[in-house]
Symmetry: C2
Amino acid sequence: MARKTGSHSEITGPRIRAAAEHLFARHGYAAVSMRQIAAEVGVQAGALYLYTPDKQSLLADLMRAHLEGLLAACAALPEAPGPEARLAQFARFHIGYHIERPDAVFIAYMELRNLEPANFAAIEALRRQYEDRLEAILRDGRAAGAFTIPDTKLATLALIAMLTGVTNWYREGGRLGRAEVEAIYADMALKAVGATGIAG
Amino acid sequence: MARKTGSHSEITGPRIRAAAEHLFARHGYAAVSMRQIAAEVGVQAGALYLYTPDKQSLLADLMRAHLEGLLAACAALPEAPGPEARLAQFARFHIGYHIERPDAVFIAYMELRNLEPANFAAIEALRRQYEDRLEAILRDGRAAGAFTIPDTKLATLALIAMLTGVTNWYREGGRLGRAEVEAIYADMALKAVGATGIAG
DNA sequence: ATGGTAACTGACCAGCCGTTCAATTCAACC
DNA sequence: GGTTGAATTGAACGGCTGGTCAGTTACCAT
């Protein structure tokens, strides 16, 4: 009993990545076996190795894909007028993008320690690129006198931690909708850096 | 070759917990074997089971001990005058306590999914108790007109995420000392909830 | 000196791990 | 209708897993 109907290579590959993302997020990279992933796809473990050289690459590829998508989407944002608007836009974007991909976000933040050094360096570089986007907004805003920030790097990390925290509790269909959460968090982010004007 | 000198039971127990905490934080619960823990203590794997019924209890005990210590220390805080002072005190306490226990914090936030349901419920209840402390501060402050908060629960989660994020990057002997970090974060926390007075 | 016992070893258990690969199956092409 | 080759199976590899336990050691009280 090999393949059943039609050519599967273009279907099985994405299905493996989806199953791995789902299982890694739920149980953690180290706790998930290749056989579990294969079972979720409906295939034998050996077949996975037609699509990934090993388990580690499966993890690294998921994380890289997520961060590259995040960076691309961030770069595609329209230019906003003024520091407050830029920060509000970033906050809303960050929450929206993360809320829609809870599994990928979870993995990207929790499985860093399971990456081999080379993969870790690559992923870390992408993460830093994204942080730099926010840091630039804060730096410019401070230079323009729009924000009150004792330390730009600290404010960057604090805001990202706050905004990303949404993924820990947000559930579709919960008490608050996505738009409300975005508005509330954008408002808090602006206030936290002492924004004078209102652009939430 | 059994025990070498003196009675070890009061030494080996804590050493096992310390080794487990260290290794779980570094590599993750699922990725650490009982034999690795035993090796770090300088003992054979079987000896671990004189001090813990199984690996799962080792994890649950570490998390429970951490959260109970956190709650006790929080409860021992002197009463602060007014909402701003209370929030500033909480922010400083939270950062200080977490900064000093990076391994325990890491485990408490990352290994929840590796807890069996019964243990998870117990740990989650402790975590919620701690959140309620902050939420009470915010609720009282809002009622007193000191804070501007659209949603108290959201603000609670946002602040905790922001404050806890410090443990992701803070290193002893880094660019900023503990006192500076506490001051900057307490200030941001106050501003984020629209505190009118200054009590950072 | 000797018996008791707390502390620990080291071998063992069944079972799962990531990974490999010869053999098989089946759609597509000639 | 036979051939090709991509897709997949299923068994196997050595090695590691959490956990058990009979046996050994070294301290302590007597």
